[in-house]
């Protein structure tokens, strides 16, 4: 059984016990435990179920590479699925539950899949579940979906907060083991600004467990000194619980800090996403031990040798009382020695190498541990827990030589450098035969903005597993990096000349070498996704020869550990099956993040109200207080209408329209785009931007203009006012202001840079208030406007006034067909003038109106609306706006495009008015049908509705639409099918429904 070992555990505080819950049971651990070590201390060896066969699963590892130990954490809206217990710090009151089983962890019905496993080989689902056809959707898929998935879903709104940090440093060091600490210190001493991050709560990494001998005294002491020094330096920032998750183009790096997950009572943001720009990145991300592939290597109790050692040394937890060690390298001997030294029994070290290990073998023998060289594990016995193993020769097919009883197996297949960050952004790898692993190919690093390498790797992440190499190369690399930054260092290298001599690893990808199919069908590569050796072999047999094919066909490495343990082993099996060497088969692509990061941290602070910026006019709060129904227009919020009392939205809109038509209305038009164009070539410039002639506009006058894209399509419209010889104000649509401004800048800067023109977007600098209706002039008269009579200010003119001490500009333009004044006022006076106008207008029945009334009135007048009548495929000619296309100009943007054959095609649909024969409102978006079907069986259409409203002025439905030959077909009836299979008949009429002679706006 697994249990606590007294007197051990450098990271736990045994005088500080904490209580936690697992599957409803209350258990005890110590402060400093991980959830994994605490469960093991409570002899909870069975901790989960695998994805496909629901096999019993125990912990395999002690860090981020753990594939099995995934739990649900917390409760309610704070619940988090798939939390890795090996990186979850224990705290008092922690609530955890195991996943992916029914009805219970100990008895899982899904385990039946295990007995059917021969029917469920790799990719079996591609070969079956096809008949009868509907069965996939209604029977097979729901069953598969239900049994797949791991954790329970999260629920509702996340109560926690998240934030982003932006860091700019000279050197980012990822990893706080010996090489990371050492590298950070060299860099910091040279004066570089350094950010050092470590994924666990503790610095020191594997060296603090193994304590290798170095010439400068005990390594733990040295590391403590390094940490101390670094903490005392102003140019150094250190963060624990912060993992480097991704390196992106031009060296942009992401780190993920967990701030409050490790305690029950911490407040503040839960996670912090660091966005780091470092001039140079040094990764010291360590190496991950590989499992060995022998039969039943997935039984709970089989664990990585380093993990067994870590649990013992760091947490004082033994995995078993009798642990068999199986290895192909010297490192696992350390586990055997540690166990033995703690008084635990190690019946046997099985070393697959015929000549066994170096100096460590002697130490082990001296402790009385039996060692068998050239041997292997044939099979592990036990179902929910290791009971023993069968010993066999490594060569051969696994004939049992001896049965050995044990309750734990510590395995080591060698070490794989963590090269994820190196590879995320294009760093190349090379296969190191001596190491039996991929390591960074230093001549092809990931490159930064200038094409030079921006990331270097030190420590075991670089494949330097021996301490002397590690120290030397870390020094060498860091000094080089420092020099590249233009800094200096005189730091002397550390060394380890008395280091323990080790024998070379000998790659073992299958144990035993000639394992029978029976054994291979029980030999796991990917523990979480249930991928076995035979699955990869089957993939190769069926022609899935590319590593990407094999991965996707078998799902190897696609689990939540992203193949940290399984990729290399799987790759080796694949290359063996293909009779190729490993480098020529290659690896799958490493993608961020290195470990999963919360979606909350990615979103950061921008949620709820802060999700996207909201643009508000100065009158926003007034609207809010007066019943505004909001409508988003770009980033703006505009009142759709103002609902009074119990009336409906429709009633409000009608009321607003009728007020404008009969009395007076007022609109907040501040969102309207306003672009100031100045300079001696302004006229020439606007002649190119607009389809109309603008250079001959007289100061004091306004003109309605159209803007097309170079591709000919109508993209914006609005009124242009000439202010003086050299300046214009161009009004754009509310949504279009930024685009049109940007477009003007682009033309000016990239094409017509010889024009002397300056454009400024003054949309937010001025509020605009539209006063509309027969009483409009009276309202303004009363306020003291003096130049607004029809002689001083005729239609399509403008004047400047000073009213109530405020400078305003009044445009006499109309989008409603009524007498209308648009008053432009500096934004800080917008609300003041708005209030005054309302006050003044009270006796004239003034009514604020919203965007919908605006739209209804413009439709009644047959005015087009960008975004309704246009959709990016409509040209001015379609809308009967040929008059706005100047014939006097040689050129303007879009003119050449209009000459293309399809633009002058007489079959293009043209703008008309539409009235249903029964007075109803034609449904939005309806299409008019012609005769029959086209050659692909679609009904022929001859037109469509672009805007459709109930007109309160005319007491009937009105619509604008585009119809083939429409203007030539006035009076004809066409048919609009609805979605309920009925037909609405509509008469083609003039698009101007209301006051066709324009008498009302011209008073």
């Amino acid at each position: 059984m697994s249990s606590r070992v007294p007197g051990h555990g450098s990271l736990v505080n045994s005088s500080n016990p904490v209580k936690f819950k697992f599957n409803g049971k209350e258990l005890k651990g110590f402060q400093g435990d991980t959830l994994a070590s605490a469960l093991l201390a409570n002899n909870q060896v069975l901790i989960g179920r695998s994805f496909k066969y629901h096999r019993p699963r125990g912990f395999v590892a002690s860090g981020v590479e753990e594939p099995n130990g995934l739990f649900g954490l917390g409760e309610g809206n704070s619940f988090e699925p798939n939390a890795r217990a090996t990186t979850t710090e224990l705290f008092d009151g922690l609530v955890s539950c195991s996943q992916n089983h029914w009805p219970s962890l100990e008895f899982d019905i899904g385990y039946v899949n295990n007995y059917l496993s021969s029917l469920l080989p790799a990719g079996f689902y591609y070969k079956t579940f096809m008949h009868p056809r509907p069965a996939w959707k209604y029977i097979f898929e729901p069953i598969i979906r239900k049994s797949a998935g791991l954790g329970k879903p999260t629920k509702g709104k996340d109560p926690d907060k998240y934030e982003h940090f932006y860091a700019y440093v000279d050197v980012l060091v990822v990893g706080g083991g010996i090489s990371g600490l050492y590298s950070a210190k060299i860099a910091a001493k040279s004066g570089a600004r350094v950010l050092l991050i470590e994924q666990t709560p503790h610095f020191g990494g594997q060296a603090s467990v193994d304590k290798p001998l170095i010439d400068q005294g005990p390594i733990t002491k040295l590391m403590a000194k390094l940490i101390n020094e670094l903490q005392g330096m102003n140019n150094v920032t250190i963060r624990a619980r912060t993992v480097g998750v991704g390196v992106y183009d031009h060296g942009y790096s992401l780190a993920y800090e967990r701030l409050i997950d490790h305690e029950s009572n911490l407040s503040g943001p839960r996670h912090r996403l660091w966005k780091i720009r470092a001039k140079q990145i040094i990764t010291a991300t360590g190496a991950i031990e590989r499992p060995l592939s022998f039969a039943n290597n997935d039984v709970p109790g089989v664990m990585l040798a380093s993990a067994v050692r870590n649990y013992l040394t760091n947490y004082g937890v033994s995995i078993g009382d009798r642990t068999v060690v199986v290895t192909n390298n010297d490192d696992a001997y350390r586990t055997a020695i540690s166990l033995r030294n703690s008084g635990l029994s190690v019946p046997l070290i099985i070393d697959s190498r015929p000549n066994g290990a170096g100096e460590l073998a002697k130490t082990a023998r001296d402790l009385g541990i039996r060692i068998e060289n050239g041997k292997a594990v044939s099979i592990v016995h036990g179902k929910d827990r290791v009971k023993g193993i069968s010993l066999c020769d490594q060569v051969g097919s696994g004939t049992v030589l001896e049965e050995i009883s044990c309750d734990a197996v510590a395995m080591s297949g060698g070490w794989s450098p963590v090269v994820n960050l190196w590879s995320h952004c294009g760093g190349k790898l090379s296969w190191d035969n001596e190491l039996s692993a991929f390591r960074p190919k230093t001549e092809f690093p990931p490159t930064g903005v200038n094409g030079q390498g921006c990331l270097s790797v030190v420590g075991s992440a670089n494949g330097d597993l021996l301490i002397d190499d590690l120290l030397r190369v870390t020094h060498e690399v860091t000094v080089r990096v420092i020099k590249e930054l233009g800094l200096k260092t005189n730091e002397k290298p550390l060394s380890a000349t008395k280091e323990i001599k080790e024998n070379l690893i000998s790659a073992v990808w299958k144990m035993p070498y000639g394992a029978s199919t029976k054994l291979k069908s029980k030999t796991w590569l990917d523990f979480q996704n249930d991928v076995k050796v035979i699955d990869v072999e089957l993939a190769a047999q069926e022609g899935f020869e590319s590593v990407e094919h094999a991965k996707r066909y078998t799902t190897l490495g696609m689990a939540t550990d992203q193949g940290k343990l399984s990729n290399i082993n799987g790759l080796a099996i694949l290359s063996e099956s293909l009779h190729k060497d490993i480098p020529s088969v290659g690896t799958t692509t490493f993608r961020p993040p290195y470990t999963p990061i919360s979606m909350g941290s990615i979103a950061g602070e921008a949620r709820g109200e802060l999700f996207q910026p909201i643009r508000k006019t100065p009158m926003h709060d007034w609207h809010d207080k007066h019943g505004a129904e909001w409508e988003p227009v770009g980033q703006w919020l505009r009142p759709f209408c103002y609902v009074e009392g119990v009336e409906s939205v429709e009633q409000a809109v009608s009321r607003e329209v009728m007020a404008c038509r009969n009395k007076v209305g007022v609109l907040d038009a501040s969102t309207l785009g306003k672009i100031m164009v100045r300079g001696k070539d302004s006229g020439k410039f606007l002649d190119m931007i607009y389809t109309n002639l603008m250079s001959n506009l007289k100061p004091g006058k306004c003109r309605y203009g159209l803007i097309c894209s170079e591709n000919g399509f109508l993209i914006d419209d609005g009124v242009v006012a000439r202010i003086d010889e050299n300046s214009y104000i161009c009004h754009t649509t509310s949504g279009g202001a930024e685009n049109i401004y940007s477009m003007m800048e682009e033309w000016l800067q990239t094409e017509w840079w010889d024009f002397e023109v300056y454009v400024t977007n003054v949309t937010e600098q001025f509020s605009q208030i539209t006063v509309v209706g027969g009483n409009a002039r009276r309202v303004l008269d009363k306020l003291g406007f003096v130049k607004i009579d029809s002689d001083s200010l005729p239609f399509m003119g403008w004047v400047d006034e000073k009213v109530l001490g405020v400078c305003v500009r009044v445009y006499r333009i109309s989008f409603s067909g009524e007498l209308s004044f648009e008053i432009s006022v500096p934004s800080n006076k917008g609300l003041y003038l708005w209030d005054e106008i309302l006050l003044s207008g009270q006796e004239f029945g003034i009514t604020p109106y919203g965007t919908e009334a605006l739209h209804v009135m413009r439709a009644e007048k047959g005015f087009i609306m960008i975004g309704d009548e246009t959709d990016g495929t409509v040209i001015p000619q379609d809308l009967g706006l040929d008059w706005a296309l100047s014939k006097k100009k040689d050129d303007y943007i879009g003119k050449r495009a209009h000459q293309r054959s399809n633009m002058s095609n007489p079959e293009r649909w043209k703008l008309v008015g539409l009235e249903s024969t029964d007075g109803s409102v034609i449904p939005e978006g309806a299409y008019a049908i012609g005769l029959g079907e086209n050659e692909v069986g679609q009904k022929v259409t001859i037109g469509r509705v672009t805007s459709t409203y109930y007109s309160p002025s005319l007491k009937k439905g009105i619509a604008l639409g585009l119809v083939a030959h429409g203007p030539d077909r006035l009076g004809e009836i066409i048919q609009f099918p609805t979605l309920t299979n009925s037909i609405v008949e509509a008469k083609i009429v003039s698009p101007v429904f209301y006051d066709p002679d324009g008498l009302k706006q011209n008073v």
Binding site: D249, H250, G426, E745, E746, E751, W753, R896
Partner: protein, 109 residues
């Protein structure tokens, strides 16, 4: 996430401050162009696996448009320069040729 240098601000800034504007040095075709020329002007964009000379705007900075020479394969940036030029300046070309001796502005037109 690219780092771009705005030649007007002389600042190296995150890509998120900028707006990408596609291929640079496009000669506007207008009224007197043929259908073929006009189509090419609007749509026939260079799409090289290699050096791309492109327009960017320092949208959330000075607002200026400028040109950048960038590799679409390694994303290396060879330099940025004024948009008010008809071809990449000598210095930029030399920078590119240091890495890619075969590359000629004329060929890439």
């Amino acid at each position: 996430m690219l780092l771009l240098n705005c030649p007007y601000c002389n600042l190296s800034c995150e890509e998120t401050e900028f707006l990408a504007g596609g291929q640079a040095h496009i000669k506007r075709q207008s009224i007197d162009s043929s259908d073929q020329e006009f189509e090419s002007y609007l749509f026939a964009r260079k799409n090289p696996k290699g050096v791309h000379i492109e327009r960017w705007q320092h949208l959330y900075g000075c607002g200026k448009w400028f040109h950048v020479a960038r590799s679409t394969v390694t994303l290396e940036i060879f330099g940025s320069y004024s948009a008010q030029t008809l071809s990449p300046p000598k210095k930029i070309r030399a920078n590119i040729n240091k890495k890619l001796p075969e590359w000629h502005w004329e060929n890439s037109k």
